[in-house]
């Protein structure tokens, strides 16, 4: 047997047991948050097994446990029937597990060969390892359509090719089980199709593939079995052939009791904001928004539904002045907004647009700063907060913060505490108080109740409705369908950077929205 064949097929014949991976009772907590609750899962050898779930459902944590990044608090991992301790990545590689991370683990200035060989060298000298890798790469390229120039510098390659390098890395280490974390997030449709052909090829060779995604269409197209995760639990494992996108969407989102929101019929006024052909390209060159047309009217809550990562965040950030647009126009009260990179969030505030960002830790608050400081950030240079000479009116700022804290029932009611000392819900209330009390014409609000406890959810919802009743416009982005259905006066669904449908809440239900979220318009039939 040549070196090459040895690498490709050298792993001893599999035990008759057809189970590649078996997880039993895996639990993992980060502080008070339980990311994985008593998860059990079986993956058959030579199959493609999908894991779906919303952001934060615990998919990535589970896979990180399998790849040795985290250690489970409880539970057992069996690989090919043998109980296996996986304490670090090295153990995982030894157990035949390869992982393609969502953010590639590649050394940009290295060549493809150097990246493949890194950590799997044969000896102290590089030359023999590189020569061997070169031969093997040629073999793998032929067998699995994984062509990539071995001497190319990885940083110069397109993302699709970089991903192939990651797969090659795993195969070079003789991986039998390949985990792919959101592999198509950065790919163009053509690149994604190519990836699926590669995965089919790997499956034919008897490799086991775990595909983590939130795109239901990919699950339907390529997997044999699918497991659904919700809030840290594995809610179902079904054969893909026996299920439908509708059912999966239901399982993903869950059927909880709708929260009751006291809401009078909307009193819709004139159009406040007109969005035309809005496009956004991210630094990787991927188009996040592909021409959005949207009108936002006074006195309405416009809900934007969609599975996370389909362009809703890009929409919020470009409207909020955080990222620049690559095309299109946005006019507000007849005036065009500056969508270039020169514009910033302060400029948007001057237009009367307030923004409660999706990620309050990254964009909404400065965690080590006190609540009173956080309660006016972004507005601190306005006349009421600072003198013309640039000194802060600290007494007023603190009084103002105390007022907001009381009005929005922030607990504990102490404006000197650091933002990080409040719970998620109370942090969110500080951000919402700051933005709503600035009396904006338009409120952009993303995931208003993510990580917020039940009591605070209701309060936040009522504040949003109160703002709309004052004749303001609210653009609500949420991955929680119930929230969208309960709050919105009008709903648009986003899929893959475009609007896949518009509905009125009273004329639709979660099932229909779920299909639209998967890019399937039930009125037009499957695409």
């Amino acid at each position: 047997m040549t070196v090459v064949e040895d690498n490709l097929k050298g792993r001893p014949e599999a035990a008759p047991d057809a189970t590649a991976i078996e997880l039993t009772g895996i639990s993992k907590s980060f502080g008070p948050v339980q990311a994985n609750k008593d998860i059990s899962m079986k993956v058959q050898r030579g199959t493609i097994h999908g894991i779906v779930g919303e952001n934060g459902a615990g998919k990535s944590t589970l896979m990180s446990i399998l790849y040795g990044f985290y250690k489970a608090d409880k539970g057992e991992i069996r690989i090919g029937g043998t109980p296996t301790q996986i304490n670090n990545s090295d153990d995982a590689i030894r157990a035949g597990i390869g992982m393609v991370h969502q953010h590639f683990m590649l050394v940009q200035p290295f060549t493809v060969l150097e990246n493949v060989v890194l950590g799997a060298e044969d000896g102290a000298m590089l030359k023999p390892s590189l020569a061997k890798a070169r031969t093997l790469l040629t073999e793998l390229a032929r067998e699995y359509e994984l062509e990539v120039d071995p001497d190319a510098v990885v940083g110069d390659l397109a993302v699709g090719f970089q991903q192939r390098v990651e797969i090659l890395k795993a195969l070079y280490r003789k991986a039998d089980i390949l985990i792919l974390d959101e592999p198509t997030g950065v790919l163009t449709p053509a690149e994604a199709d190519h990836l699926f052909r590669i995965l089919e090829g790997l499956k034919r060779e008897g490799k086991t593939i775990i595909l983590i995604t939130h795109k239901l269409r990919e699950i339907m197209a390529i997997t044999d079995t699918v497991s659904v995760m919700r809030q840290g639990e594995m809610t179902a494992t079904v054969k893909t052939a026996d299920t439908s996108p509708t059912e999966l969407a239901e399982l993903m989102v869950g059927r909880k009791v709708l929260l009751r929101i006291e809401k009078s019929p909307p009193n819709i006024g004139e159009t406040l904001m007109e969005i035309r052909g809005l496009r956004v390209r991210d630094p990787d060159g991927v188009e996040r928004l592909k021409g959005i047309d949207l009108d936002l009217k006074a006195g309405e809550i416009l809900g934007v539904a969609g599975v996370a990562g389909n362009g809703q965040s890009a929409l919020l950030e470009v409207l909020g002045g955080i990222t620049a647009a690559s095309g299109g126009t946005v006019t507000m009260n007849g005036r065009a907004l500056d969508l270039s990179a020169q514009a910033d969030a302060g400029e948007r505030r001057d237009h009367g647009i307030a923004h409660v960002p999706e990620d309050r830790h990254r964009l909404g608050l400065i965690m080590p700063y006190s609540a009173w400081e956080n309660a006016c950030f972004g507005y601190h240079d306005r006349a009421e907060y600072s003198s013309p000479k640039g000194f802060l009116r600290r007494t007023f700022m603190r009084d103002d913060a105390r007022e907001k804290i009381e009005k929005y029932d922030v607990r504990p009611a102490n404006c000197d505490l650091k933002a990080s000392n409040f719970s998620g819900g109370n942090q969110q209330k500080i951000v919402i108080a700051r933005e709503i009390e600035s009396n904006p014409d338009i409120l952009l609000i993303g995931q208003p109740t993510r990580g917020v406890d039940i009591g605070a959810i209701e309060f936040i919802h009522n504040q949003i409705v109160a703002l709309r009743d004052k004749g303001k416009a609210v653009l609500l982005v949420s991955v929680e369908l119930e929230e969208i259905l309960a709050l919105s006066d009008r709903i648009v669904v986003m899929f893959d950077g475009a609007i896949s449908g518009e509905r009125l809440p009273q004329d639709t239900d979660e099932n229909e929205l779920g299909l639209l979220m998967a890019g399937i318009d039930p009125k037009e039939g499957p695409q």
Binding site: S60, T61, S64, Y67, F69, N88, S89, D90, D91, A92, I93, M99, H101, M105, L106, V107, Q108, P109, F110, E114, N115, V117, L118, G119, A120, E121, G123, A124, M125, L126, K127, S129, K169
Partner: protein, 342 residues
């Protein structure tokens, strides 16, 4: 300027460039692995002191009943110098370990740790020197076996008869102390380690994307400690050369005189590459040589003062660090402690 004068200038260029080159390569190993090191200066200083001190002691004759202030040593011959070098390397490595512990294990700020090491070395050398030798922080003058002397390369006189090339060989290349040749050999050695060995591949990877190294099942911590320790060894050699291989022949307070920082500037100028590092250090060495040879340059209209000439290497440092010379991209993960995340 005749040829002899030019070669004299080159000769002192070589001697000036040696400590810079050793320190620069030291920094190269550390920074390529993602650990910024502004403590090169301190490590060199500590090494200069430790090697001069130990060499002086080792070379001093044994006295059964020394009067106060007299040193009773080992009375060694030429081995005293090598014992000094070992001591210098040990002192520098101890400092390097301290920097590694602060910046790798404790994930502290690498710049602050580097500054602390510079201050620590400046203080400790004088304190210990005064306690041991009572000479105001200096070490005794090194003589005989305690210091390095120039080596005459083979056939220096025969080849020296050849026009131009001959005198260059005889007057510039030949006659340097052994540490100069070690420094020059370090350049191809560094390049070979970095680009032809498994160790070098991992070292470079850990400075660019430690996550890639970690997910490949290799310890980031171990790799970075190895780099920091190599940095310590090379800084040790640089320090030993300063106190034992130059005309100073002994340790003087703050004798590194900013060479650690000039070495850093050379490293940036060389874009973290070994051979360019050699040329960069030679350039700095040349400027230093010009500055000390031509004290007051009369350009006709006015006289360029000696202070300006001596400031030349420092001026070039400022120019380089201000980024006037091309764009230098440092290793991507440089300066950041590695924290494992998903």
């Amino acid at each position: 300027m005749d040829l002899a004068e030019l070669f004299q200038l080159f000769d002192s260029t070589m001697r000036n460039a040696t400590p810079l080159l050793l320190a620069c390569l030291a920094g190269l190993f550390s920074e390529r692995a993602g650990i910024f090191d502004i403590g090169l200066e301190g490590k060199m200083l500590a090494a200069a002191f430790a090697s001069a001190g130990v060499a002086a002691w080792a070379a001093a004759p044994y006295v059964a009943d020394p009067f106060p202030g007299q040193i009773s040593g080992l009375g060694l011959g030429w081995t005293a110098a090598w014992l000094g070098v070992m001591a210098g390397i040990a002192a520098s490595m101890a400092m390097a370990l301290l920097h590694g512990f602060a910046s790798i294990t404790l994930r502290g700020n690498q710049l602050i740790s580097g500054v602390a090491i510079n201050f620590l070395a400046a203080g400790v050398t004088v304190l210990v020197g005064e306690a041991l030798f009572s000479m105001g922080g200096q070490t005794p003058q090194l003589t005989g076996g305690a210091r390095f002397i120039g080596l005459t390369l083979p056939l220096a006189d025969t080849i020296g008869a050849i026009p131009v090339i001959g005198p260059f060989y005889r007057d510039v290349l030949s006659g340097q102390v052994i540490l100069v040749y070690i420094a020059l050999l370090m350049v191809p050695l560094t390049a070979w380690i970095l680009f032809s060995t498994r160790f070098g591949l991992r070292l470079r990877a850990v400075g660019e994307n430690p996550g890639a190294v970690d997910t490949a099942g290799i310890s980031v911590t171990r790799q970075r400690y190895a780099a920091v320790l190599i940095c310590g060894v090379l800084c040790g050699l640089a320090g030993a050369y300063l106190s034992m291989g130059t005309s100073a022949a002994g340790f003087v307070k703050d004798m590194t005189a900013g060479r650690g920082f000039i070495a850093l500037a050379a490293l940036i100028f060389a874009k973290w590459k070994p051979y360019p590092a050699l040329w960069a250090c030679l350039l700095f060495g040349l400027l230093e040589a010009i500055g000390s040879k031509y004290q007051n340059v009369d350009v006709g209209a006015f006289v360029i003062p000696v202070q300006f000439m001596q400031a030349l290497p420092y001026i070039l440092t400022v120019v380089i660090l201000a980024g006037f010379i091309g764009k230098a991209t440092p290793p991507k993960a440089g300066g950041q402690p590695y924290v494992k995340e998903r």
